[in-house]
Structure formats: C-alpha cells, structure tokens
Symmetry: C2
Subunit: 331 residues, 2 copies
C-alpha cells in the first residue's frame, strides 16, 4: 500500500472518486455519518451486496476496475428492480495487507465509473484489513414515489411476462473469460467479456415499468429460472414461458452452439445478467414496450401468467416444469 | 451449517430476528430492496462499519452474540454522534463454509439485542461464503431534523469540551479478556468484560446535545486523542484538556494501576468506548449537563476551546501536546 496508513489510504481513494455534485448530499465522506436530504413524496430504497475474491470473481475473469464497477452495478440493479432512482452509495472494503495500491485505485475508478453512469455518489464507507481474501460490500440508497415500488408479489392471472435485454450473456462471458475461448470471433469476444464484467443495471427500464404500472419486477442475479420462480411464489400464480421467445444474443447463441451447449441453459440458469424480469397487464406491457422502443431499450414478452404455481415452459419437447437452480453459496 | 443452503440460511437467520414492528418499514427483508417511509422535516443519516474475525475480534475476547451486538452498536454510535435517531439496518456477512450454524444464530441474537435496545430494525442484507475469516458489515440509516446534524467542524473558541460516560473502559476490558486477569475482583471483571463486548451507543446523549445546540460531536472509536484531534482539525481550533477531569471508571483505574499502567493511556489511546466527545458553548453545556443528569447520563466538561490548532493537555508534568494514536489497519 505504498506506506499509506488507514487514514491516508481512505483520503487517497476518496480523492480518486472526485467531487460529489449532488446537492442532496449535505455531508458526504468525512464525518461520522453522511447527511442526505430527502424529497417530499418519496420513499427510500436500500439494498446491500457483498463480493468476495475467489468466490464472486477472480483475477482471470475480472480486472479490479470491473470489480468496483460490478459491485455497485449489482446493488443498482436491485434499485432498478423496485422502479427506483439510485442516489447514494456507501462502500466497505476488507483489504489484505499485501494488496497492491494500484489494484485499489483501479477498484475505485470502477466505482466512479458506475456512479457517474447511473447518477449516484459515494457518501461514506469503511476500510479495514483482513487476513483473508478481499471483500467489497456496497450499500445503495435510492428513492421511489411513495407507494409505487415494484414488488415481486403483484403478478396477476392474464398478465404478460416480460424480460429486458438479453439473458444468458453473463454466464457465456464467464465461461469465455475462464479460458474456453477457442474459435470465438473478436467482436463476439468483446461482447462476452463486457456482458460479464460490466452488466448494465436497468434503472431506466425500471422507471418505465413503474410508470406504466407493471405488476411485478425482479432483477436477474440468479438466472431466469430462479427469478421467475420467486415471482410465481410471491404472487401465488404460475408463469408460463414460451422458450422460443426468450431473448438470447446472437453472440451467446453462437458461443453456446459451438460448444454443444443449449443456449437456454445459459438463459435459465446462468445469472448475473442484471436484466429485469416481471409481469404487467397486457395494456401496461404494450405501453412499456412503446416507451422502451422509443428509448432504445429492449423489452420482450416471454410468456403469461396463469392460475397455479411454479414456472412452466413451452418448448420443442412439450411443457416442462422449470425449477430454480442459481448459484448457491452453501450448497 | 446443518445442510442449510444459502436461501434456507437467510430465512433461518431472519426468522431469528423476529417480526419488525416499525410502521415505516413498507417492505423489509425479502424483495430486491427495502422500502422505507420518510418523515417530513428530516434528513437521512447513513454510516457503515465492517468487523473482521482475527482483526476486530477473536474467540477469546468476544462471544458470537457480542460480535453481532457490537457491529450494530458501532454503527449506531455514528448515528448518535450526529445527534440522530437510529432507524434501519442492513447487514452483510461473509461466512466460511465451516462456520457452525449455532455461531450464526448467536450472532443474530446479538444483532436482535442491539436493534431492540436502540429501536431500529434489520430491513435487508446479504449472505455470501468466503475462503477467509468471517466478515460482518453493518449499515445503519438514521434521521435527524433538517439542518441540525452535529458535525465535527463547529467548535468555537470559548466552548466547553465535553465527553459522555467513562473513557478507556473498552481497552482495559480488551486487555482483561485477552488473558491479563490476575487479581481482578469479580465485580470489576464483569464490568471490564461488558465495556469491551457491549458498548452502549449514546443515542440519547446525542439527541440531547443536538437539542441544546452543541457545536461539535464525535464518537470515540479510536481513542480520545484521535477524536479530539479530528475535531480540532475540522474546526480550526485548539482543544485544551484538563487531564484530571477525564472521566475514568474506578474499575479501570484499579485495573491499570495494578498493572503499573497510567489509566490515562487507556483513556487517550484505547478506543472503542463509543462515548461522545465534542464541544458546546458554556450555556449549551450547562443545559446538556442538567438534562443529562436528570436522565442518569454522565457528561463531563474536560476542557475548553482556544485559538490555535491541535490538542494540548494540562497534566501533572505541565502542558503536553496530544497526538492522535488510534488503531491503524495498515500501520
């Protein structure tokens, strides 16, 4: 750490984030707690996520600036899934004493990138040492008009099931970055890397879905199968998916097929796409589709809500029950 | 972990916290983010702290329920130092795969104890695995009337310097718990253990100090020397302390002296007392003293604010300059 002590290190890293321009930050980094102004008519959203070196990422698959970016992006995605705006971030890192300073500088550059891209600001944090692997914990505060947060529990029979963007992309990217790179065109390689390292939290799509009155929403951290099952369970309904409608990027289809893998495997079970999935009445979905299209945001109807429970998929082999199968930390 | 997977573990631990009775929690644990109602005329406070096994605690000095309690208490202390009320907590833990389930149950019992004692509620979190030591990260949200947060930067020449409770207690307790136990009376032993394991965040004192218009406040995480220097620097003043006024508990004095240690060493440099230290005009201090006394809260004037910089102490050997010397993670 180039001889920096704890306080010098914090100053050095905070300086790297640049000045905060948000007028609602009355007191930012540097006092006992941050002081944040509220807007009338809003509720506060809060979510937290931790990433551990060797579990969530390693030096083969992620550069340090990606780790900083992605930890923020993962929390921002939770704010997006509530239909909220992202506002403020606090960041805690546990750092091995042998960690090179330039890796932390890169980490904070990635944090700054994510904050700038999505309009939020770091207002506090903690830096401690550890004898184990590097751990980063981000907590993001957001806001949503009172009473309008998108929950998992509102899906209704007859609703459309939607998903934003493409799914399965991050898992394909992870496999590529882990070394299975043979025969992949250069353009596809860049996409695969970016999808895994720099997922784009769908804050704008979340706001649109809230504005049109979508009935439920979830972000895809654990794979489409897992997230759809959460909505079905929370809402007490069955979700029926048309597998041929699931949006998978051409680069992912090509990559999967060149390896003898069904691209749907990545889509159902891959996770870390940080797209949004949920339900909306046919009318609300039509409005969301129209607004999204005008703003260049991909949103696709992939099924509908039926009475019953669980998730089923109409595929080439008939109707399959889709069970959750995401990453499990203690399997 | 008794065969519990990640989702089963989260459910099990959240159940252990019991139901949340706060009406401002519109959505708590279980969706993508918590949804929290705001009160008009308030600003939001946010602070985060991490504790790492082997760095911040070990199995000799702390039981697991103390770890849970203390991590929350440390963040609550930051809210107290702003003069705020504590409201909501999000909690992230990184858990070795070999961690016994009963240690996590005890941890969450301690979290529940702290939340119940200080009127806040856990509204979200994250549970991940790690190949290294256990890490707990707590983020606490609080609230303060708009524009009234106590900062470090408001000390003015002529103000009184105050401290709540006793200082040096946690450091003495740490030494005792680390094995230096000889000749300590049983009553003192209990106090020493409690002071280290279960510090009491001074939320009520912080509110009183805000209400009387104290000019600055800081909580004592790094020792009186370090905290006073922070206030002096942030405010552009010198703090002059009468060492014989520094409040040290009889059990700590006895413990230190029986080991040939000056009790002031614990007070200046010990840290982790989580008392409040700061400044107030003589009139504001007199009012705070009167209200605190009526509520059984100890608050002591230990010096005054002068022109200049840094911290000086009038002691038996004359006027000494007091430099910061807290725990440094990367020394």
């Amino acid at each position: 750490l180039n001889g920096l002590d704890e306080f010098g290190l914090i100053r050095h890293l905070v300086d790297r984030l640049g000045a905060t321009s948000r007028p609602d930050v009355r007191v930012g980094v540097g006092d006992d707690a941050a002081v944040l102004a509220q807007q009338a008519g809003e509720e506060t959203l809060v979510t937290t996520d931790a990433m551990v070196e060797g579990i969530h990422f390693n030096q083969t698959t992620m550069r340090w600036q990606d780790v900083g970016y992605k930890c923020i992006a993962v929390s921002l995605s939770d704010i997006a899934a509530m239909g909220g705006q992202a506002r403020h971030v606090v960041l805690s890192i546990a750092v091995p004493k042998t960690q090179p300073l330039d890796t932390l500088e890169a980490l904070y550059d990635g944090v700054r990138d994510a904050c700038e891209a999505y309009g939020c600001a770091v207002v506090g944090g903690d830096v401690v040492s550890t004898t184990g692997p590097f751990v980063i914990t981000s907590t993001v505060l957001g806001a949503v008009p009172t009473g309008s947060a998108l929950l998992r529990s509102g899906a209704k029979v007859g609703d459309a099931v939607y998903v934003t963007g493409f799914v399965g992309s991050s898992e394909a990217g992870l496999r590529f970055l882990s070394g299975d790179t043979g025969g992949v065109p250069a353009d596809d390689a860049l996409l695969l890397e970016r999808w895994h390292r720099r997922p784009e939290p769908q804050l704008r799509a979340g706001e649109i879905l809230r504005e049109v009155g979508a009935s439920s929403c979830n972000d895809i951290s654990d794979g489409l199968a897992s997230e759809l099952n959460e909505i079905a369970k929370a809402s007490g309904v069955r979700l029926r998916i048309q597998t041929n409608r699931i949006p998978i990027a051409p680069a992912v289809k090509n990559y999967a097929r060149s390896r003898g893998i069904d691209p749907l495997e990545f889509a159902w079970y891959g996770g870390e796409d940080y797209q949004l999935v949920g339900t909306a009445s046919p009318l609300a979905f039509a409005r969301a589709l129209s607004i999204c299209e005008s703003q260049g945001i991909r949103i696709t109807q992939i099924g509908r809500v039926e009475p019953g429970d669980g998730v089923v998929a109409d595929g080439p082999t008939g109707l399959d029950v889709i069970y959750p199968r995401g990453y499990n930390h203690f399997a």
